[in-house]
Symmetry: C3
Subunit: 361 residues, 3 copies
Amino acid sequence: MRANQFTDITYEEFRELPPKAKAGFFNVAHRPYHTLVAQQFDRTMLDRLSLLATQIRRIAKSKTGMHFLNQMLEHRRVMLYFSQPSSRTFLSFYAACQILGLKVAEVRDTSTSSEMKGESPEDTVRTFSSYFDLLIMRTPQQGFAEKMAWILSHTERPVPIINAGSGKDQHPTQALLDIYTLQRSFEKTGGIDGKTVVFVGDLARGRTVRSLSCLLTNYNNVVQHFVTAEPLQIGQDVLDELNAKDVTYHVSNDFEAIIPEADAIYMTRIQDEWDQIPGESGTIDISAYAFRKEHLTKLKINAVLMHPLPRRKEIATEVDSDPRAVYWRQVRNGMWIRVALIASTFGVDTQIDEYAKLNLA
Amino acid sequence: MRANQFTDITYEEFRELPPKAKAGFFNVAHRPYHTLVAQQFDRTMLDRLSLLATQIRRIAKSKTGMHFLNQMLEHRRVMLYFSQPSSRTFLSFYAACQILGLKVAEVRDTSTSSEMKGESPEDTVRTFSSYFDLLIMRTPQQGFAEKMAWILSHTERPVPIINAGSGKDQHPTQALLDIYTLQRSFEKTGGIDGKTVVFVGDLARGRTVRSLSCLLTNYNNVVQHFVTAEPLQIGQDVLDELNAKDVTYHVSNDFEAIIPEADAIYMTRIQDEWDQIPGESGTIDISAYAFRKEHLTKLKINAVLMHPLPRRKEIATEVDSDPRAVYWRQVRNGMWIRVALIASTFGVDTQIDEYAKLNLA
Amino acid sequence: MRANQFTDITYEEFRELPPKAKAGFFNVAHRPYHTLVAQQFDRTMLDRLSLLATQIRRIAKSKTGMHFLNQMLEHRRVMLYFSQPSSRTFLSFYAACQILGLKVAEVRDTSTSSEMKGESPEDTVRTFSSYFDLLIMRTPQQGFAEKMAWILSHTERPVPIINAGSGKDQHPTQALLDIYTLQRSFEKTGGIDGKTVVFVGDLARGRTVRSLSCLLTNYNNVVQHFVTAEPLQIGQDVLDELNAKDVTYHVSNDFEAIIPEADAIYMTRIQDEWDQIPGESGTIDISAYAFRKEHLTKLKINAVLMHPLPRRKEIATEVDSDPRAVYWRQVRNGMWIRVALIASTFGVDTQIDEYAKLNLA
């Protein structure tokens, strides 16, 4: 793995680059070294990771296959540094690491760290990185994982970093799992190209929506709908990007009308933890942006209903048992695509290809 | 393992069944699938688990044997979900899982979970279950582990659940370790049948006492004594059950008088964390219900002194070094019986039998 | 491993022995059984551990070598009991255990332990010790790890204890990593003998300074300088010990003057968490006791600049990239010397010697 991707650029210059332009610093020969922004993944990489994830889960079905996976990275150590709490993402990464045999250590409560003793966050993370071969970081600060990648790349012992969520900003592995879920859901119906994807809920603040909307531009003729109450509508910056790429999209507030057209409906919850005035979201009437049991009859037979979870009332629990409700599968997909990503980061994906060729019919 | 034990019953119907009647839903062919209530274990299962635990600890004595155990379930992942704190039970299960090579992940501080984001506890646990092959749960809510077992059994991916303590209600593995301790203590003196067991302390609220009293009815001619101050006496419901099963028991408040008759004395601490009026237990005079050094001379030579721990002043530390004080061995027994239970849950107990047959003299 | 080192002495007698005199109780045939005080390590042991650490890190460079190390103690379980928070020391030990394949469990938040239920700390730790083969403890109480070592040695199941920091008192593995860093830094310039070591900063309260000063008396002709503002100067007890051993030392407050003489400069931060009156350290002018970029020109070409970290402003970050700044290497050295210590504690160090002889050129 190449260490000094950042040699010819200062941190201040680097920081100001648009996400897409950073891909050259994060990827090495179509493999992620650092995984920091959703935009660093192009169609080739997305197809590759999806295929790899599917191979891995097939290998994992047998005890022999699981043993093969388990020994793959057992000589490596990873740290999960979660200074922003998230049991869901934490456990998904944890299980993914375990599947590859990685030895995992964790810091979840950073109040027990040296930060208390007046150390800079950069020194803290550099210290922790000394003991491990990979850092998986979730932080409330935008850009911190990127900054650490830049700093560590200028030391004697750089290690790859995976961003597991940085503030309102980026959560690239969530975007990967959403793409992987769409890819698997449409495996027998022509793939993602040409499909209609409907985003519903808190489009203004949901980083998952922003990232997925962006990654979908890697596919051909995907139509995007943004359906929600006015104050929660998608940002103009996202629409500008879609315009620049000549992507067809529609902005509306009539959820019921759009259901029959959708190949995928992506529901999201109100992210009131980001309210600038506490409780301000509570005054918005969102009752029309929930998927109820009676909506199932309007939904295409091959469509899928997605949700990044956790949910509140956006989807009635009675819907859970419908085969088109794939949000629980999304959770499992998240684990498998993370296994694929980590295998790819350490460059052991080719060993998986070989094993699959020899052992899967 | 059979997944749909609950097919023909609604949750509301299921919930109202008496504990013993639930055994048919939790056990599969005399093996636990879910371990949720002490009452699901009959004599056959108790004897089986005790034998298995003893075989396992003998196998574990050699490095080769430990390696055999360590590879047994290394392709499986378990989650310890402890929303009610208990380092003692947590570490016992943790070590038990490690002995079988299970890869363990944990959630101990549930304030870091998605519950904060308005998710239902059922969704939270279902999400976590997606990544793992076994859930071990400790919760303050009565019946929550049971409810999750019912919910997961109705999904595409059911997993077994072990109840590691649910409120004031059930703590089935504590009951198993108590039975195992009695079984080992009386190995050379005819087993548990016919013995006299004396319960002392907070009998009203100690779930360990209630569960052990119940499991002892699986053995022949065991006499039970309940000895404590009046406000802490055993509940009438327990006595009703003993009456129904024609078990001999005695209720009294004279601890000193009963010591010479006991084959096992089971001391417990005052559980003042359950006080309805804070501090109310403090007004009860319990000084007579402590085991002091001078009591050792009154105790039968083959009797045993037990305590589920933690202790306060119920047993003087000077007693610890007497060979009849088995509470520290109880702690170790707890780890080994949990290894046996988990092995049994995954159905690898027969491999252990074979290994023991070939390798233990 | 010998268990009953304490047979002929009461705890009260034992406790009052000077640290050096305790070595006979902690070491067995020049190997640590318990690691509790820096003073228990003599020159033979320090040389041995340093050599072992260097062998181990060379072995770890290949995947085969790492697999050899990983299987070494995989049949053993260790508990990290950190009732005083320290992510840095915690992760260093955690990674060290993982390298040897030890199965690790942890207790970091002791508010979740049975201490809440009125249990004595001694009972709590004895319970936890039942599940594991090694305890690594960090506690705010002085002497607690020692007390537990004495208590466990009088039970049926003693286990070794490593002190990972006990209050203001002892932090023996920090002292080991400092010695190892000096040994490696001077490998090609004649070793530690004859060198000049300068201590700077909070010498009154820094336990790392006290321990390292003491361990350096195992080497020949080392000159020690203590350079800081008056209120933070080294304690008279340390100087008395140096006098007793006829060690040359100097006490001064002129940092700039001493830089050109130093072979090693050991910077430390103000430990204001130990202030008796909160904020009292803040009134001391320490601006003269920081290493700035311009000091590099005064520093000998083969000298090293050390810091136990975390740092505040004692060393400017611009100094980090100078090859003489070894504090980031110190962090890695800490992990490797802990691997060596644990291997030595379990007596598997001779297997490492053999592997090294056969496999390292």
